[in-house]
Symmetry: C2
Subunit: 477 residues, 2 copies
Amino acid sequence: MKNMDIPRLKQIVGENNVKDDPADLFIYGSDASVHRAMPWVIVRPEKTSQVQGLMKFADEERIPVITRGSGSGMCGQTVPSHGGITLDMKGMNRILEINPPDVYCRVQPGVVDDDLNHALKPHGVFYPPTPASSRTATIGGEIGNNASGVRSVKYGATRDSVLGLKIVLPGGKLMSFGTRTRVEATGYQLHKLIVGSEGTLGVVVEATLKFVPIPKFRCLGLANFDRLEDAGHAVADIMAGGITPSMLELVDNVAIKAVNKTMNLGLPDVDAVLLYESDGMVKEAVDYEINVMKQMCAKHNGTGLQSSYDAKERAKIFMGRKKLFPALSKFSELHASTSLADDMAVPYSKMAETARKIHDVAKRHNIIMTAYGHCGSGCMHTKILMETSKQSQWNSARKAVDEIYEYVRSINGTTSAEHGIGISKASAFKAEKADSLELMRSIKRAFDPNNILNPGKMMDAPDDWVTATDLRYMVDA
Amino acid sequence: MKNMDIPRLKQIVGENNVKDDPADLFIYGSDASVHRAMPWVIVRPEKTSQVQGLMKFADEERIPVITRGSGSGMCGQTVPSHGGITLDMKGMNRILEINPPDVYCRVQPGVVDDDLNHALKPHGVFYPPTPASSRTATIGGEIGNNASGVRSVKYGATRDSVLGLKIVLPGGKLMSFGTRTRVEATGYQLHKLIVGSEGTLGVVVEATLKFVPIPKFRCLGLANFDRLEDAGHAVADIMAGGITPSMLELVDNVAIKAVNKTMNLGLPDVDAVLLYESDGMVKEAVDYEINVMKQMCAKHNGTGLQSSYDAKERAKIFMGRKKLFPALSKFSELHASTSLADDMAVPYSKMAETARKIHDVAKRHNIIMTAYGHCGSGCMHTKILMETSKQSQWNSARKAVDEIYEYVRSINGTTSAEHGIGISKASAFKAEKADSLELMRSIKRAFDPNNILNPGKMMDAPDDWVTATDLRYMVDA
């Protein structure tokens, strides 16, 4: 650990906004990924000028700076693998402007997603890129990862909603990218480049976001499938069927069994479940879309078709999906639910094949993997349930992840749909984008010549994620 | 003019694909902007390997390369202000794949927008970013400018539709950016950076584009306004009204008078006209949106409200807008319709104020300016009608353009909505993005270290567009 000039940091951001207590450092040493590495110090700025002061100091002293929101990232983006300052942005959490006539809002990066939507609600609008972690995830973190979520199939990802950004560069310069207008063709769109850059190019201190009307009607449906492949065909037909669902989710049998085992929900023990939703201002249009989706499910042997507009009924239908994370966590005393190969995107027509591949690979390597996700966006998630205390299980997981990503590349899929790269997915990322890594490094140098911003991530992360950092699990020697 | 090695070029791209006849060079010396500058040679590659060979040669010899589609750009993007090779991409015009289940197509850059949509139609889908020039504009040119058009309010701009790009870098390296999937969070999104980069970063040789279903119902409405400001208020209310029009167009009195004068259409001589459209798969939903828009127009004193689903009726309603360009061209023997300050985007609430400002500035400088555009996207277009033979009119136009762009910046608008920067809008662009020009130059260096790709444009264009190149009009001394 570098000997940090704590008094100087306190001068820059205030006495109470600097922490180097080991207990705090420990907390900031992990996120929702498998990784752990301790920062040297935690700094919590309250305003842009403090971020500028800090970035000037850090650049002069060549100290790594890791920007962090709520630490719900799944690939180790905010784990300080090279040490340095963790910049906790949750202190900058003000909503600066809500402008309904011009259809945008301006927020600081520490605003929590659900809090923004709570503030937007009285205006009859919402901010669509809502990840499963929206109760804690910050707008800044979502920008860092180009987060999306269940509604991305209709409403797009974070990049689609960001109109402009203010960022602080290493050295302290404040830059303004983008606009407050709906369209722009004014040179390189640097704000779009910042989205998904995982804190490697600049520190976001303000975002201008567009929002959309809250639909008056929302209808959620469900179909059971005895064969995963049938569910996959239904997805492809729905997406080519001339409609735009507001949600289209796949849940596999591994997940269903986990939910039934731990939550006692009594879901039918089928091979796959599809959840489909339509929303809109006019009930007839929602009816139409739901009917198309039911027809496509029925055509491919979907059974138990049901749907409802009623909020309570919808919650019941969605229960299996909603309880998936806690169910996986409680699956067994021995098994932990780990974020590994947790996120990929594939062409629609390959959804079922991908899920099947995941199961096959898991079986072969003696681990448990579930496949689920926002299949309307081609997004496939997995969790690996494994005995994290056993080194052999990590070796198996490493092989399984490699095989799955090799397969994903072979079908023109991509390494991440919405969780980003960080450390865990770096090897797959480097294989997928092999020919543009040098260009990405050149771009990083243009923003961050001394490489202080989140060093050692994405194109600069080690190839083996198992040994890249300590693991945040106790592993028997 | 540099002494070009014509035999070498013919070796690279084939005997018949190299032209240096002065008549050809003259044609390729201008586009739809006011500028003129001759290329040294025109090269028309037929395949990617030829582009690679050419880019290797040009980079070694430090020869400027200007990529060109149909030359319908309005700001001089394809005018070779520094000479060099004009790379005519219209020879690479194949549609490589149409994939309905995975909802994407792959095309070469020379494909004309309307041709792509013609090919997509049997599949029940369309490619939405359709500029007014879609009969001639190529997909490559639209990517270069981040083109959009009347339907961008609902369907977004080119950047929103591009999933992936293959580009050739100076030196000849072929790179693949992006994916074939709907969402992606896999590192820096270089394909999104290429969109709107006006041929300064690489030569696009293939694009993967998403498409959307052709709506079954389309209804177009019209409202007349005695006060431009009322039309502006109607626009802001519509955009905050919980609906998503598929088109929302403003036409001002200058344009109406021009159409009436030259086309004898007998349109009501009102201060402004709004055209509003809704489309969808369900008639009730389209009815609902049209009714909301009619109500908003009526609330703000709109009169003569009419709407129709019928294709012929819709064509009649749209006639005034459609005839705008030819009407302006034929306005008078003395006046030419020039693309200057032709394109900006402003917040919705400032649409009317912006149009009024444009009229005021024009009057003060003794030129004629019309204001119209895709106000649902905040996009405002103008044309300057002026006596192009008079130097004094160019001086007036220069002042008018400067004043208008200064105003646009003051209300948080942006220099270009969809036509790009090129040469004509460089001074406004440089003022708007002053603090990020150096960063843009660094990014360009990362892609193009020898600055051969479209040099002297955007951040590197001269401040005075009037003297930046020859004008393509005869101006009396």
